[in-house]
Symmetry: C2
Subunit: 323 residues, 2 copies
Amino acid sequence: MNGSAASLKILISDSDPALHAQVRALSDRIEIVTPQQVKEQAKLLEGIDAAYGGLNPSQMAQAPNLRWYQTAGAGVNGLITPEIRERADLVITNASGIHAEPITEHMFGMLLMVTRRLYEAREQQKTRQWRGGYPFGANVTLLADKTLGVLGVGAIGGHSAHVGRAFKMRVVGLRRGGASHPDVERMYTPEERLAFFAECDVVMNSLPLTGNTRGFMGKAELAALKPGAIVINTGRGATIDTDALRAALHDGHVGAALLDVTDPEPLPEDHPLWTTPNVFITPHYSGAHPAYDERAGRIFLDNLRRFLAGEPLVNIVDKQEGY
Amino acid sequence: MNGSAASLKILISDSDPALHAQVRALSDRIEIVTPQQVKEQAKLLEGIDAAYGGLNPSQMAQAPNLRWYQTAGAGVNGLITPEIRERADLVITNASGIHAEPITEHMFGMLLMVTRRLYEAREQQKTRQWRGGYPFGANVTLLADKTLGVLGVGAIGGHSAHVGRAFKMRVVGLRRGGASHPDVERMYTPEERLAFFAECDVVMNSLPLTGNTRGFMGKAELAALKPGAIVINTGRGATIDTDALRAALHDGHVGAALLDVTDPEPLPEDHPLWTTPNVFITPHYSGAHPAYDERAGRIFLDNLRRFLAGEPLVNIVDKQEGY
């Protein structure tokens, strides 16, 4: 049961047989453990060397030999406890990068649904009345020549900046360190956040949730925005102060909030955010796309090959920074 | 009343005083005529040299001295009668170009509303239920890596191609003559239309309505599309055979039709297109944006300056081709 000294026990949460076959093809030293087996026999965790999904922090605490954990998602804010942070021999990698395209498409879709009044048109269609012009023609706005502020310029923000530029938007960005980006006309640092927000007609927030980003957009930041600005969040709900956002929507200073993430999540049925004026909520699926599992699996396989060869892994999470 | 020999009578349909002042500043020879004056005294038409909007073909027939007519829109299919076509001394210019940004934004908005299931999410929000995942995560599709077919590569199609490429779509195009375009990987001619449609996951149709484009997308063209393809039309409704489109939507070969223009228009309350599966109708406002009048006025002013200086006008409509 313990395998040979050279065997490698890997927990794989994805049950796709094709993925398992690809894993086995990489090395005959590998022994695949399934979540079902762990559920039946928790003691199996003790022998696990690596895992692709399927573990929470308390299970990781029971896996002292775990050296590498690959997540299938991007955000790891629920995963990195103080204990995990201190395990210097445990590397965590994520599937960052495969979210750039779906999330950028989701953000521009939500934005254009509002600026082109598409939801109202869809509602009017039910009445089978044509009624061109008002409320449409007079109430649409144009992305071109507006300023897009990309909050967090990683893989997602970089792609959003690129698409924004194609739509002829002016693009500004904010990221730690303030390093430039080819699609960002002006980059700000977190310390310059008020000047950044003062430029924005539209904010696309894809910040991870860390100690530094919790409540990043609070009362002062929202007040700094241009009147009528549109706030989009696909990062983590708690990077925005929900009460301050609701107040800014009620007084009209923020024109609309398009939220794929909320704080808390899932949003309880009686939460006032559901019915705050000009709030549009999609239930945390902006990163989804049909080939998600296949593309996440490809990152895992690439990292597994590297792990076996003793090469550096890709998509390593900085456990101190939290993303 | 007839003015000096050198005076120039221009009918201006836009009543904006700032525009009138800008017109007068260009030359003191100009005498502005308003639609109200023409309404009260039709005989005024006889003396008109140029007009910015406000004339239908029968009024033009009463204006034998009319040498230049600037429209405020792009499509001129209702304007170019056989008689107008034969008046070699009458130049017609349009406001083509100012529609590129709003219409491209409208088309991608309609497209992403469907691919990201945003309408369904908006409906679900009313129930105050979070319900992530199904029907969302499993049912979204990605624009990236899909093939966008741009049907009619003018100002609108060119901008759509550019944005499509930024979204990492593969872009093919079809236009008369088949001249290349920097954002189009492969350009087809009208004769190669079936090969063009066979490539398309998404078609963005911004064709004008001419003798050559009426019914351009008929049964054979729709059948050539990839299964589940999305058809978007912001050109003129009659460039698509509505009955053939409805049949292709009913049998599922066409995945969705996103229509800002219909045939007929306005669409009567009892027309079956309103309730054909996967049809989304916006009542012909894709070209609208807040600064429309100001930007159309700018084209008129530029052309007026050219007209006064005897220079070639911009945006001249080919009366034989009809756009």
